[in-house]
């Protein structure tokens, strides 16, 4: 089932994020180190303001850390605040994002929302369409392919967002409270989807959540408090 669980999807070493300086200095994240193996689903818990989103944006190459190193796969991508790769290109090829809100492009259909992620990654239009359709079917929303986002339910939108995140077969999927806007049934479905994707496609998945009902889905769970990371289970 998990063939390459010991191969790292991501490795973060002593990463910190400090905003401001002097009297206005805020240490949002301090010397955080962890790894996520490919095929592993990791949960990240913690109260608001603990630094979860800071960690997610740092390892998601959206907001660089102040210090520390981040490796994704075999590549050193961040050395302190310095990007060692073209971050936009790296995000395109290696990282998938899912957020609390689906953040679908409102003027694109469900199919096109997935297709665009593939075309951005230079996949030919026709191939992109086929792959996007496969993903929508895989996630159970194939019949809604021609619907615009506002025609879909919250759960369906989130499935399309997951399909978009998976489109380029990323080695790392980052999810920031993906079930917050869903009812418990739909939330559970999405969490199980991450588990399925991680195990079947070998991607490392980090899920930030407040939802303790889904803890059983995670292979490991971290807890963050005051900018520091602790292994919970």
């Amino acid at each position: 089932m998990i063939e390459n669980i010991h191969e790292c999807a991501i490795e973060a070493s002593n990463i910190s994020k400090i905003y401001g300086s002097g009297n206005t200095e805020v240490k949002a994240m301090l010397n955080v180190s962890f790894t996520i193996a490919k095929g592993e689903v990791v949960g990240l818990l913690g109260p608001s303001g603990a630094g979860k989103s800071t960690l997610l944006t740092a390892i998601g190459l959206i907001n660089p850390p102040t210090s520390g190193q981040i490796r994704i796969g075999k590549d050193l991508v961040m050395d302190g605040p310095l990007a060692m790769v073209d971050v936009r290109k790296f995000r395109r090829k290696h990282i998938g994002y899912v957020f609390q809100k689906a953040n679908l492009i409102p003027f694109l259909t469900a199919l096109e929302n997935v297709q665009i992620a593939l075309e951005i990654n230079d996949v030919h239009h026709k191939d992109a369409r086929i792959r996007a359709m496969e993903l929508l079917k895989y996630l159970g929303v194939g019949d809604r392919k021609d619907n615009l986002p506002h025609m879909l339910s919250g759960g369906q939108q989130q499935r399309v967002a997951v399909a978009r995140a998976l489109a380029n077969k990323p080695s790392l999927i980052l999810a920031d409270e993906p079930t917050a806007a869903l009812d418990s049934f739909r939330g559970r479905q999405v969490m199980e989807l991450f588990q399925k994707v991680a195990h079947e496609q070998g991607a490392g998945v980090l899920v930030v959540t407040h939802d303790h009902r889904s803890l059983d889905v995670f292979d490991r769970t971290f807890e963050m408090e005051d900018g520091t990371l602790m292994l919970k289970s």
């Binding site: 944006t57 959206i62 936009r88 995000r91 492009i105 003027f107 297709q115 665009i116 951005i120």
Partner: protein, 400 residues
């Protein structure tokens, strides 16, 4: 995948309304250009149609298109005797205003040297040229006459025998062609009372002169009908055509030696028209057109900036999933060009429908359309810069 088209399709009514607004604005730019062109065409129309080689006008004046010019009708005969002159004919042009059906009617009266000139050169769309030396007229359709209509002017009644289209003076008033004698009669129409008063005035002036006292018969003659009350006919100019192969400059040089007239070539007359009476209006319209182009650019910038602001979150999302700047730039630029292009097409068809309703001619040439297309393209690109700048400054973390 073309994001610009998909975004437009998604908010089509809003986009179409915006395009209509831009189209109407561009139609005004197009219209100003057409009014500018029409002004020049109208001003040059008569000079072009008459096809004279030389214009002979009152000494030290610039001719009837620039200022008042008066020369005796007999100058026509003197000019015919100049070597190299093929034909000479008097030119009379003056504007009159009358009332017809309760509305003001402005007519540019043109005199034709009947019987040499019956108006064969006039582009008549309906009816015929003059076939009699008196009481016939050819009128432009813009004056609102029909064939056979009769118009009382002065002491006479004139019948419309021919109609033209688009023959207007530099002020945009329709032209009407009469025989020269009729045109002069209309210009110098004087009431019987004015003539009687003039005769009495002559008699009183004669009484105060020695000659009036020593020659009493003069007093009788001053008041009699045998002496015309008014001076002999004067015309605005005499236009001449030179013989084939004749040196126009040499003919002009010969006539220039006369102390009572000045000579202008046809090109000179056109130049005087454009630099004279038409010039200020031309510059005013030109400046107004430039202002409209700037205003259009500003409005389009604001529209495109607003359209971009509406998509900031989507642009941030696209950046987050790794979209290249070229994709986002293309989205905004393509929408700008589609908006400008659609506006341009709308402006063209709206103009085609509306411009003929204008009281003066609006002439939009192919050349002007090409220039405006280039300007619209430039405006579209320039006005998208603000939106592009905003889109480029969006950070992917704005999705969060």
């Amino acid at each position: 995948m073309n994001l610009a088209i998909r975004d437009i399709r998604h908010s089509l009514p809003r986009f179409l309304l915006t395009a209509i607004g831009i189209g109407m604005l561009l139609m005004i730019v197009m219209g100003m250009s057409g009014i500018y062109r029409g002004l020049i065409e109208d001003a040059l129309l008569l000079v072009d149609k008459i096809g004279a080689d030389l214009w002979i006008v009152q000494h030290n004046t610039r001719g009837p298109f620039a200022e008042i010019s008066r020369i005796p009708l007999k100058t026509e005969d003197r000019l015919c005797a100049v070597p190299g002159v093929k034909s000479a004919r008097a030119f009379v042009s003056h504007t009159i205003q009358r009332e017809r059906n309760g509305k003001p009617l402005r007519i540019v009266v043109q005199g034709l040297s009947w019987p040499e000139d019956k108006g064969e050169w006039i582009p008549i769309t309906n009816g015929r040229c003059l076939s009699a030396g008196h009481f016939e007229m050819i009128a432009d359709q813009s004056l609102g006459f029909n064939l056979g209509d009769q118009l009382p002017l002065g002491k006479n009644i004139y019948t419309i025998v021919g109609l033209t289209r688009g023959m207007v003076g530099q002020g945009g008033d329709g032209l009407a062609f009469f025989s020269l004698r009729d045109a002069i009669a209309i210009q110098f129409d004087t009431s019987g009372e004015a003539i009687r008063l003039e005769r009495d005035a002559r008699r009183s002036r004669a009484i105060q002169q020695d000659i009036g006292n020593t020659q009493p018969e003069l007093l009788n003659r001053a008041a009699s009908q045998n002496i015309p009350a008014l001076a002999g006919p004067m015309v605005s100019a005499v236009i001449i055509r030179t013989e084939q192969g004749a040196d126009i400059d040499k003919v002009a040089e010969t006539i220039s030696g006369w102390k009572d007239v000045s000579v202008h070539t046809a090109d000179n007359q056109k130049s005087l028209l454009l630099k004279g009476s038409v010039d200020k209006a031309r510059r005013q319209i030109g400046l107004f057109r430039a202002l409209l182009v700037i205003i259009s650019a500003i409005i389009m910038s604001l529209i495109l900036y607003t359209l971009t602001l509406d998509k900031i979150h989507d642009i941030a999302m696209l950046k987050l999933i790794g979209a290249r700047n070229s994709l986002i730039l293309g989205l905004i630029l393509q929408q700008a060009i589609i908006l400008g292009g659609l506006g341009y097409i709308l402006a063209f068809y709206l103009g085609k429908w509306i411009f003929p309703l204008f009281p003066r001619r609006v002439i939009v040439t192919g050349n002007d359309l090409v220039w405006l297309a280039v300007i619209v393209l430039a405006i579209s690109v320039l006005s998208s810069l603000l939106g592009i700048w905003k889109a480029m400054s969006v950070q992917p973390n704005e999705v969060l």
